[in-house]
């Protein structure tokens, strides 16, 4: 196992999203990231549960990269949660197998950061709006790390998008090192 980071890409119209393409582009050469394009894998929403669970078990940091549809995610990610985070796997008897792993939401939002404040038209911060994910991770014993948010993803210049994408890459790199994702690999190699 060489990849330690699983990037679940969840975007129904990825081909038209500059921001998400740029983000993916930016991390393309990180050899320890495994990209799993959910809409490409499951166009009919027929999720291969065993495959998804195995991918989770094989990785330490799980990224969910998605647009911030209706203050949440595209529907396939919800279906993914309902099916993959099953009893006996993610929780309940024989569950909690994901405990100790890290959960990261990497989202692209159309509006500006100011709108996600009590006086902005979106009223709540993205941190607050992402609480269901945070609580889900928490319930499964996973550690929810500070989300990555690209604001105004559709309106900022290409250059700005690329800059944001670079920030995304840096964030993942820093997480990869600070979270000590490679420790058990080193152990394996040592033994």
């Amino acid at each position: 196992m060489t990849t330690r980071v699983l990037l679940n890409l969840v975007h129904p119209i990825f081909e038209k999203s500059w921001a998400n393409q740029a983000m993916l582009e930016a991390i393309q050469d990180l050899s320890y990231v495994h990209v799993n394009d959910l809409y490409e894998e499951y166009p009919d929403f027929f999720i291969d549960i065993q495959r998804e669970q195995k991918l989770l078990l094989d990785h330490s940091l799980i990224i969910f990269q998605h647009p911030f549809y209706w203050y949440s995610s595209p529907s396939l990610l919800k279906e993914w949660q309902d099916l993959v985070l099953a009893e006996g796997f993610a929780y309940g008897e024989g569950g909690y197998q994901l405990a100790g792993r890290y959960w990261l939401n990497a989202i692209t939002a159309g509006a500006a950061k100011e709108s996600y404040t009590p006086h902005g038209f979106n009223h709540f911060s993205t941190t607050e709006l992402l609480r269901p994910f945070e609580q889900t991770a928490d319930f499964c014993g996973m550690k929810f790390v500070e989300p990555f948010v690209m604001y105004e993803a559709e309106t900022i210049s290409h250059r700005a998008v690329e800059k944001e994408a670079q920030r995304y890459r840096d964030y993942i790199e820093s997480l990869a090192h600070s979270l000590d994702l490679f420790s058990d690999i080193n152990e394996e190699e040592a033994s």
Binding site: I49, Y91, G92, Y96, A99, F139
Partner: protein, 642 residues
């Protein structure tokens, strides 16, 4: 052995049919040839398992031909028949006329009396309805232009038998003790005509107004065998009536079929009769094979072979010129002409009749009978030669102009085969702005889709040049939607060899065909029935009370796992372990469907039970407060919204 009972005879014929036809089919010769060869082998001149009473059996078996025409009539609504009047009268009429004249001239060259020559010309101008139609339908050619035209000609010939029977006694040159005739030729001509008119009107009127209530009444008994018996009785009555007045029973049956084509019992009639028809027709072919007189053939083989060749060649030439005149495409022309270039079963009857009436001598007739029978036996062979050798030759090389010039060649997708299947694929692609070049080999289909404003091109996709003209060099993909495995494989191989950049998406009949296509190099193979069967399965589950989503999931699961298994098993396809592995997989699939995670157990809603990871692990104080939040979600929600 010849006196042996009915059961023994039935045994011989059935055994010959089973052995002969199954072998012929497996080596690709078609059933007709199988029957004919089986007949020759059991006939009096080879094994002698059946005796000289073959003629009687043949007469009985001709009933199969009658039934065949009845069934064809059932498929042909009067309107369609009316639309065919031009080919029937024009093509058929000219064929009979010109062939008769040419054969007559040839006979005159042998210093025959002109009356004899005319009789021979007329009789030999006829072709074999039974062999032609059976062979064409087996090859799926009846719906093509060639098939339809051939049918039209045969229909005219059947009608032409009537005046021939009337005319023959007038051509007598030899002394006969008593003039024998079929039917009521001793009647005055006008009486005869009136009788014919009466019987035909009778058939039409009865078919129109009496048969329906009759079948309705019979159908209500709920006894299938009585229904079938009634159907048989109907055809039999027509046969007897027609024979009584000296008309072709096949023609009468055909007429009755047409009259009944619009009745609601049409399909019942078809289903009831089709087995009898096939068996009797088979028996008929066997008797044709058995009646070939090898003694005469052996006595003068060269004469007979020469006569037969002459007959076939003359017929071919006439047919080809006519087909050209009627603007058939070259390939259709060849199929049409090769199909009809033989003598027919009517010749046997007419020859005997001619001898009885002192028109022809016994000697000539026995010779010509062999010629006709041989030419009939040769028809399936001729058609095979035509299809396997001549047509492919035509498609290649210089005759390319025969195909439509494809003008929008620069399209990204070629769709080969524009039937129902290809249409759906193409419409989906076009809806997304992809241009598709449509190639179709069935002229009828092309005309049909033209009415809906779609242009499909006539062309044989198994021809490299046609593919090239359609833009295979620049296209990105070819969709092979032809429903013929042999052709599909050929196209796949052609594309792999000459257009390796093309993505090949192809349609397969079943698993076996799918494996073969994969092996040949197709990128994606779809079994043609899988999608629709899965959807039907899904709907069936719904019909049994499943909620739609669960039905959908089960069907989708089947689709995914079955497709995956196909991929996996493709590697062992052909090996001994295949069957074992396939059975294993099938079992696995059932297990998976039974245990579909979403449906099998009601999801325990984790967030409603106050046990989370921390508590399981000994608990941290944080979760307590979380729990409180969760227990009053409604309050919180209303606070927020207010």
């Amino acid at each position: 052995m010849e006196e042996a009972g009915f059961l023994y005879q039935a045994f011989v014929f059935l055994a010959a049919a089973v052995v002969g036809v199954s072998i012929a089919k497996h080596v690709g010769l078609g059933s007709v040839l199988g029957y004919l060869i089986a007949g020759m082998i059991i006939g009096p001149f080879a094994l002698g398992l059946v005796g000289h009473d073959v003629d009687d059996i043949m007469h009985f078996a001709e009933f199969g031909v009658v039934m065949m025409l009845f069934l064809i009539g059932l498929e042909l609504q009067p309107k369609k028949l009316w639309n065919m009047r031009m080919p029937i009268l024009g093509l058929g009429g000219l064929q009979v006329l010109i062939t008769t004249l040419l054969l007559m001239l040839l006979s005159l060259a042998f210093e025959m009396h002109w009356k004899m020559a005319l009789a021979i010309g007329m009789i030999l101008a006829l072709s074999s309805t039974a062999i032609v139609l059976q062979t064409l339908s087996e090859k799926d050619l009846l719906r093509t232009d060639a098939g339809k035209s051939a049918f039209a000609v045969l229909l005219f010939q059947d009608m032409a038998v009537i005046p021939m029977l009337t005319l023959l006694p007038l051509l007598a040159t030899l002394p006969v003790e008593t003039s024998v005739s079929v039917g009521h030729t001793e009647l005055e001509a006008w009486q005869q005509a009136a009788l014919v008119f009466a019987v035909i009107s009778g058939i039409i009127l009865i078919g129109r107004y009496l048969i329906r209530p009759l079948f309705n009444w019979i159908a209500r008994t709920g006894l299938r065998e009585i229904f079938i018996a009634t159907s048989l009785l109907l055809v039999l009555s027509i046969t007897i009536a027609m024979e009584k007045i000296g008309l072709s029973p096949a023609l009468g049956a055909f007429l009755a079929g047409v009259v009944l084509a619009e009745s609601e019992y049409r399909h019942e009639l078809e289903v009831g009769l089709v087995t009898f028809k096939s068996l009797l027709l088979g028996l008929f072919f066997i008797t044709v094979g058995a009646s070939i007189n090898f003694e005469i053939l052996m006595q003068s083989p060269w004469v007979i072979l020469l006569l037969m060749t002459t007959l076939i060649v003359i017929k071919l030439i006439v047919l080809m010129l006519l087909a050209k005149q009627f603007k058939m495409s070259l390939i259709e022309n060849f199929v049409f002409s090769f199909a009809l270039a033989q003598g027919g079963e009517f010749a046997f009857v007419l020859f005997i009749f001619a001898v009885q009436n002192g028109v022809l001598t016994e000697e000539i007739v026995s010779l010509l009978t062999v010629v006709v029978a041989l030419s009939m036996a040769l028809t399936p062979v001729l058609l095979i030669i035509c299809q396997k050798i001549i047509v492919p030759k035509l498609s290649f090389g210089k005759e390319r102009r025969e195909f439509d010039n494809v003008d929008d060649g620069d399209t990204p997708v070629i769709v080969a085969g524009y039937g129902r299947f290809g249409q759906i694929v193409s419409r989906i692609l076009r809806s997304q702005g992809f241009d598709t070049t449509l190639l179709e080999y069935d002229a009828v289909q092309i005309d049909l889709v033209k009415k809906f404003g779609t242009k499909a091109y006539y062309g044989d996709v198994t021809n490299e040049e046609v593919l090239r003209v359609a833009g295979a060099d620049v296209a990105k993909m070819i969709v092979i939607a032809v429903g013929n495995q042999e052709k599909s494989l050929k196209v796949i191989e052609l594309c792999r060899k000459h257009f390796p950049h093309l993505k090949i998406y192809s349609r397969a009949k079943g698993r076996r065909e799918a494996y073969e296509q994969k092996k040949a190099g197709a990128d994606f193979v779809m079994r043609e029935t899988l999608g629709s069967a899965v959807i039907l399965g899904r709907e069936a589950l719904m019909g049994l009370g499943y909620r739609k989503y669960q039905a959908h999931r089960t069907a989708t699961a089947f689709y995914h796992y079955d497709s995956q298994h196909l991929e996996d098993l493709a590697e062992v396809w052909g090996d001994k372990q295949y069957v074992l592995k396939a059975a294993e997989r099938a079992e696995m699939l059932e297990e998976v469907l039974k245990a579909d995670q979403r449906g099998s157990k009601v999801m325990r809603q984790a967030w409603n039970t106050p046990v989370s990871y921390e508590e399981e692990e000994g608990g941290e104080s944080v979760t307590e407060s979380n729990k409180d939040d969760k227990q009053a979600p409604d309050n919180k929600g209303s606070e927020e919204s207010s």
